[in-house]
Amino acid sequence: MNIENITKKLSESHGWQAKYREIMLFGKQLPELPEALKVGSALVSGCDSKVWLYVDLDESAQQLVLIADSDTRIVKGLLAIIIAAYAGKTPEQASQFSAYTLFESLGLISHLSPSRGNGIRAIVDQIQMQANRLA
């Protein structure tokens, strides 16, 4: 699943219910994290739902590798979008990348609000921090 595909699908769905249906379908395509990796140290704090996130570097390709899962369908779908957006980027490219602009263009900006119930911003911040560390 690539970001062009995601953008196309979301732009073709009208109304919030249709958008959320697509988002949940994106989530279904994301492989489920093995139970052994669903550990407290991988949890992103600041999320109302549980989000496990691993960010690593493929040394040979110098590309970020992201693995993530959530116990909610909608957040898992949003994770699929975030992972597609960062996939194949070098840590430097990821540091420059604005997930905010992406979510704005997808019409999903409300999900990046810093409100208590929403941890998407926390996830993006975490990825940026790890990308900076790996850069």
Binding site: G15, W16, Q17, Y20, R21, M24, D48, S49, K50, D71, T72, R73, I74, V75, G117
Partner: protein, 404 residues
């Protein structure tokens, strides 16, 4: 007395549409909506009456002071207590912190504090901290398997341990259960246990008579009872209240200050340093005036009928689990659907204009005991109607279709 059905028109926000959907507000347990009368009183105060209280000799200040102290009379009358027994705070959370601070001064490592398993974090953490400071032990009353307080077990636990303090919510914010506090308070009387009632969720729905209840302390928040945010208070039986140590210090609460020593006024003055939330207090009084125009029995009858209708329609949806006491309830349904996450349900309900709360409702220990990580909570007030219930049920059915 007013017809309950027509009261909805007094709440301007209920006419709003969001994202092209009419608002279906079912989150009154988080905060109640405000009637025009409350909004107007606050607006007029700042436009024409704003002044500090207890300080000036000028007319505005005298008028503001009169309104501010009249508000104390209004709340006291509503709760059937004396005005000097009402202390203003920023809300129920601050009231509980104040009481945990004050009442724990007399505790030591032999002391015990009892709470219920249904408590909001605001009625757990201040007592935990009090236990840390004093070495006292925190006891938790037992719960039945169906999410209802075990009344007999609770009384027997109180009799066995004879705790110094019982602090319990009148109504569970997460489930809506009305707890049998009358019998618990009665048992505490014979044991010398001081009773603190968290009235945040009962103040508006049940309008408790504190003389009949006979509790020692009762805390409340204005915003859960049609009033503004950031203000609330507590009732304290005067002889107990006046012996509590000061909590916050500053101007206005003193009798005399020298660099060596200060003496304080009597309660409630000694607990209210600094400039208070004047417009908030006046707004709360307007909210109580508004409630005073509604017959309490008619209000409760209306809310109960609406709750029964909501509950019955919800129970007809296969896969829905409702938690808590569905017999004695102020009008809250706390539920899950199959294994779906409450976050997904609430997010999708929002796309239909339905405002509900999802999560642990600041009651994580209760959620653990119910073996869930959270629920969806729809909470009613008298300004809701059958159309809201229908809107919610239709939105829930559509949401389920989207998920199944």
């Amino acid at each position: 007395m007013t017809d309950i059905h027509s009261l909805r028109d007094d709440f301007p926000i209920l006419d709003k549409s969001l994202n092209g959907q009419p608002l279906c507000y079912l989150d009154s347990a988080a905060t109640a909506q405000k009637p025009n009368k409350v909004i107007d009183v606050i607006k007029t105060f700042y436009q024409a009456e704003n002044s500090n209280v207890h300080r000036g000799l000028h007319t505005l200040s005298k008028n503001a002071t009169n309104r501010y102290e009249a508000a104390r009379e209004t709340i006291a009358k509503f709760l059937n207590v004396s005005a000097k027994e009402i202390v203003w705070t920023s809300g129920a959370t601050e009231s509980l912190n104040f009481l945990a601070h004050g009442l724990s001064q007399a505790l030591n490592e032999n002391s015990k504090i009892a709470i219920s398993p249904f408590e909001h974090h605001a009625n757990i953490v201040p007592w935990q901290e009090a236990c840390k400071r004093t070495g006292a032990q925190l006891l938790v009353l037992p719960m039945l398997e169906n999410g209802v307080l075990d009344e007999a077990g609770a009384i027997s636990l109180l009799q066995t341990h004879k705790p110094d303090i019982l602090s319990i919510g009148h109504v569970s914010n997460a489930l809506g259960n009305i707890h049998p506090i009358e019998s618990l308070i009665k048992a505490c009387k014979t044991l010398g246990t001081k009773t603190v009632i968290d009235g945040a969720q009962s103040f508006m729905h049940l309008r408790p008579d504190l003389v009949a209840l006979d509790c020692d302390f009762y805390v409340f928040s204005a915003h859960k009872a049609l009033g503004p945010t950031g203000v609330g208070g507590l009732y304290g039986r005067y002889n107990l209240l006046n012996t509590l140590p000061v909590y916050k210090t500053g101007g206005e609460m003193i009798q005399e200050v020298t660099f060596a020593h200060s003496t304080y006024r009597d309660a409630p003055g000694k607990f209210e340093p600094g400039t208070p939330n004047i417009s908030g207090v006046i707004g709360l009084a307007a909210a109580v005036d508004y409630l005073n125009n509604i017959s309490p029995s008619a209000l409760q009858r209306y809310e109960r009928a609406l709750y029964q209708s909501l509950l019955q329609q919800l129970n007809q949806i296969k896969g829905v689990t409702v938690y808590g006491d569905t017999q004695n309830n102020v009008g809250i349904v706390s539920f899950n659907y199959k294994n779906e996450h409450h976050y997904d349900l609430a997010t999708l309900l929002n796309t239909y204009g339905v405002a509900v709360r999802s999560g642990h409702h600041c009651a994580q220990p209760l959620m653990n005991m119910l073996n869930v990580n959270g629920t969806v909570r729809a909470s009613l007030a008298f300004y809701n109607n059958e159309a809201d219930v229908e809107h919610f049920i239709n939105a829930l059915k559509a949401t389920i279709e989207l998920l199944d």
